[in-house]
Symmetry: C2
Subunit: 402 residues, 2 copies
């Protein structure tokens, strides 16, 4: 089934918004084995819709945008008119729109009536967050889908579309995946040579992010999927931190909570980014009580009794300082595990012996402190972000006893 995705709106064409809807839709379709053939962004003028609809020959045509209540929002009526299907006003939807306007205390305008216009044979996609429902309808072998633009409104409808397509095309596809940290896409791809051939009935695709990577497995056989995922897990369990819905910090907060443990961190170059990641997890207050940013040497001695000798002889960016920071924090708090980060985020401040990107870590756990040294690439933000993820992964490995 060849697919065309058509985004409507001046906002994307003027660079005001990024077309993330395309990414979401393409990725979900991809997971059920449907290819997006081409994608288009057009302005909300009737002739633009017609020109593109005349041009394309795809079997599945998905529109996003132009479903709102203003006179500029013409996607629904224009597309319905183009295909010449019979329509009706859905009174239930109309009543729902009226209730919505009452609820937010605004008067419903006549222009909102058109949001209840649908092809006679169509599936209405309910909008729980706005007034514009989506729609799916069939016409001479073409499936036409219309979604609203706001992602929170569109995404639940996309899930409905995926269910519809799976049923209609009798797609028995199973899709799951892993999230990995501590390895990179090129290393993984090299290591996976041969692995793909052993699982010809499973589509295995990497999606690389900053400092982490996810692998999505898709197959029409649940047995084949299970087998591929089991073998993948056996091979890469050290890097796998969770399933597709997990976040690294969420997994760590979960592990800490399960073990009834408290974490505390002391940061220099990441300047609060590690603490901020952990506390972005809802419920983190049960495992995280306090943390410090010791950016200056004075702060390092003040809060953690780092010896002047260490700072003068080895410097703040050193294995010894990372060790003393983590140990010092462990002594000053009731935390079961402490982490320290000290490094050079750049772009200035590097030297030949201590270049930009050099970061030291300390982890204190069960009375023992281990240090790590890493070199990270990228700009200041990337180095800080990668150091934060590396530190989170150290905690994960420590808690997993690896």
């Amino acid at each position: 089934m060849k697919t065309a995705i058509i985004t409507v709106g001046k906002e994307v064409l003027t660079g005001k918004t990024i077309n993330t809807n395309l990414t979401s839709i393409a990725s979900k379709l991809n997971q059920i084995g449907i290819d997006v053939n081409r994608s288009f962004v057009i302005d909300d003028k009737v002739e633009e819709y017609y020109e593109i609809l005349d041009f394309i020959n795809e079997d599945l045509v998905i529109f996003t945008g132009g479903l709102g209540p203003t006179i500029d929002d013409i996607t629904r009526e224009t597309v319905i008119k183009y295909f010449g299907v019979d329509t009706y006003i859905n009174n239930e939807i109309l009543a729902g729109i009226k209730t919505y306007f009452d609820h937010i205390g605004l008067e419903m305008k006549d222009t909102n009536n058109k949001q209840a216009l649908f092809p006679k044979k169509s599936i209405i996609l309910e909008n729980k967050l706005g007034t514009a429902p989506g729609v799916i309808f069939e016409n001479n072998g073409t499936t036409i889908v219309i979604f609203p633009e706001p992602p929170p409104e569109m995404l639940p409808m996309l899930d409905k579309l995926i269910e519809y397509l799976k049923e209609r095309l009798d797609i028995k596809l199973f899709s799951r995946g892993f999230r990995l940290v501590g390895t990179g896409e090129s290393t993984m791809e090299k290591s996976l040579t041969g692995f793909y051939d052993l699982h010809p009935n499973v589509n295995i695709a990497p999606y690389a992010g900053i400092g982490e990577i996810k692998y999505i497995f898709t197959s029409n056989s649940e047995d084949d999927l299970d087998k591929a995922m089991e073998e993948f897990y056996a091979k890469y369990s050290g890097f796998i931190y969770g399933n597709l819905d997990d976040t690294l910090e969420g997994v760590i907060v979960g592990l800490l909570a399960k073990n009834k443990m408290i974490i505390s961190v002391v940061e220099s170059c990441t300047g609060g980014m590690l603490a901020s990641s952990i506390t972005n997890v809802s419920g983190s207050s049960s495992v995280f009580h306090e943390s410090i940013v010791t950016y200056s040497n004075e702060a390092k001695t003040k809060y953690l009794d780092i010896s002047l000798d260490t700072l003068n002889t080895y410097g703040a960016v050193s294995s010894k300082c990372a060790l003393e920071m983590s140990k010092g924090l462990s002594n000053k708090t009731n935390a079961d595990i402490t982490v320290s980060i000290t490094g050079i985020a750049g772009p200035t401040g590097g030297t030949p012996k201590k270049p930009v990107g050099l970061v030291y870590f300390g982890v204190t756990f069960n009375g023992e402190t281990i240090t790590h040294k890493k070199m990270f690439n990228g700009n200041r933000y990337m180095i800080r972000k990668r150091a934060t993820i590396f530190a989170l992964n150290l905690v994960r490995k420590q808690l997993n006893g690896k």
Copy 2:
């Protein structure tokens, strides 16, 4: 000049990467008054290029992607062949590619030769970060541009294209702008009714981000531009924190450095996000020495002597606690300005009296502590992010004496 942007690549069509190049190119063209008419994403198959090139009628056609060294990268030769222009191998570029391969210690393959193929009459866009140069050429009234996909390689070439177009089309356009914080797009747009009409020769466009907004002014008359910007500034100076290249945290670090002042922060619900923002500014170590995350009540009493009476009677999320946190930090550090944040980031933990999104702030400066109470919308991340930006803006206003 009507423009079509054509992105080549399976990565966008499978949802693996977001098409940020479209956003960058569209936004820069928009600033010199060139409209992007339509945008396309296609697969890297010869027939796909031909079909789209047959279809479009735009005067400026910009390709991105498919310029690399592999056999799948066919954009340059395919587009050149389509237009049937005379070509040559540029020996200087060829030598440059050889040097690049020597430098990274890899052997140059024959397939890389094609990266030196250009139309005889063309402008070569140098690639300082990769092997694939970009190109601009003219053909029967159509301007054709080919960019590589990686944004760091593409962006400098985009600036060259903008210069080329300004010269060729004799565009005397001036473009500058302001960044604002502490106000929203709908409030601004309501307030700007009438303002736009007073400046018919200036295009004024808002670009809303999380917690901030930028206004870009474009005109062919520098006098008109200056006048509009002066009037805008006079009206909204309280919200304006800088020019388009500025960041809020960068402006604050700059203000602190100028005044030789030190800042320190104590965070509860933002959990390190404020410290992390400040320390993401290169050079922040001269104005930022230390900060604390006091997530638990115990941490608040331990580090800052917050009275148990305050915590028991008013709670940690209260104006009194925010006040004592900021004051306490001021007493414990040598900072000239201290900031505290305490609130409920959600999604759980809210009560009817203290709902999710309620955040208190304290700012201590010149021996005086002022507190603020705010309600923020959104999910946990958004509430934390908006609270961080609000706190940064409090500092900015304090330092500016507003």
